[in-house]
């Protein structure tokens, strides 16, 4: 099965895919922006400030999803002794980190009109900040260490430590008294968000997911060419 994941075979697809993904991303984002900024209703309590949700929530979801993927890929890389898993993880990290920063900054902007403050050392916000630090450590580890084996070990160790924080982020609003509101969308039970707000949120999430796919593909292709550059040096 892993033969299908060989870089030589994957490159045929990943080298052509970015232009199609970019095209699709622009379309979905345009629809999402119209829905989020114009068509969706204002909230009865928060008024138009609620529109920040359409960038804040997808960014937070995707940054959490990417970190979980990076962790499982890094661990799988060790179990199956497959370098490509590490390469995929490394290529996913930059967009995950940027989404994490977007979630923090837009959360802070949203906090001012709703809570009256830009920042609070609240459990949800602090745990998201800690996730950003783990992302930064992960990215720095790839820059610092030249030795492949060493960087595989250290980056995996960072993700294993960081993944402990993910359920803390998820349940922080239930475990502690926080300024941050509890989840409005639940997969297992009934969501408390109205469909007029849920659909724009899902469209924006799809746009953000497409963007992270686009960056992943471009980054992955760059990493493959880097490897091939080293190969040419050895000829």
């Amino acid at each position: 099965m892993f033969k299908l994941l060989e870089p030589n075979k994957i490159f045929q697809i990943t080298s052509k895919a970015p232009k199609y993904v970019l095209f699709l991303f622009i379309i979905v984002l345009s629809v999402g922006l119209v829905e989020a900024l114009i068509l969706s209703p204002e909230d009865y309590k928060q008024s138009d400030a609620v529109r920040i949700m359409y960038v804040h929530v997808p960014a937070a979801w995707i940054s959490l999803g990417i970190f979980s993927s990076i962790t499982s890929l890094s661990i799988s890389g060790f179990i199956f002794k497959n370098k490509n898993f590490f390469l995929i993880s490394k290529s996913l990290a930059p967009s995950g980190f940027v989404f994490n920063i977007i979630a923090l900054v837009t959360g802070s902007i949203w906090g001012k009109p709703t809570w009256g403050t830009w920042w609070a050392w609240d459990a949800r916000i602090t745990s998201m900040l800690i996730l950003a630090l783990f992302y930064a450590l992960y990215l720095i580890s790839w820059r610092i260490y030249e030795n492949e084996e060493k960087v595989f070990k250290i980056s995996t160790f960072i993700t294993i430590l960081g993944i402990i924080n993910v359920p803390i982020i998820k349940y922080s609003v239930d475990w502690w008294n926080t300024l941050h509101q509890p989840a409005s969308i639940n997969i297992l039970s009934k969501s408390s968000i109205h469909s007029s707000m849920l659909y724009p949120l899902l469209i924006m999430t799809a746009a953000f997911a497409l963007f992270s796919l686009l960056i992943f593909l471009m980054k992955y292709n760059t990493e493959l060419i880097k490897i091939k550059n080293k190969g040419l040096d050895r000829l």
């Binding site: 930059p94 880097k226 040096d233």
Partner: protein, 75 residues
């Protein structure tokens, strides 16, 4: 409608700055990644150009190398 969009009941400064920051982050990340990609691609082409015939043939035997070169000409 434009007035509504620009005013947003007094929250426009918050909403538009949140969306603006997001789109600016997207654009920056896209441009940085694109520049890195083009840099590596150009490095590859330069290295490939400096190979002798035997080395070039050996490199071309790998499908991925051919794909990288084909992408450069397509771009």
């Amino acid at each position: 409608m434009i007035n509504e969009l620009l005013f947003m009941n007094g929250y426009a400064v918050y909403v538009l700055s949140a969306f603006g920051f997001t789109l600016l982050s997207f654009l920056s990340l896209y441009l940085v990644t694109k520049v890195q990609f083009i840099k590596e691609q150009n490095k590859f082409v330069a290295k490939f150009g400096s190979l002798n015939t035997e080395q070039a043939n050996s490199a071309k035997s790998q499908r991925i190398n051919k794909e990288i070169l084909a992408n450069v000409t397509n771009n």
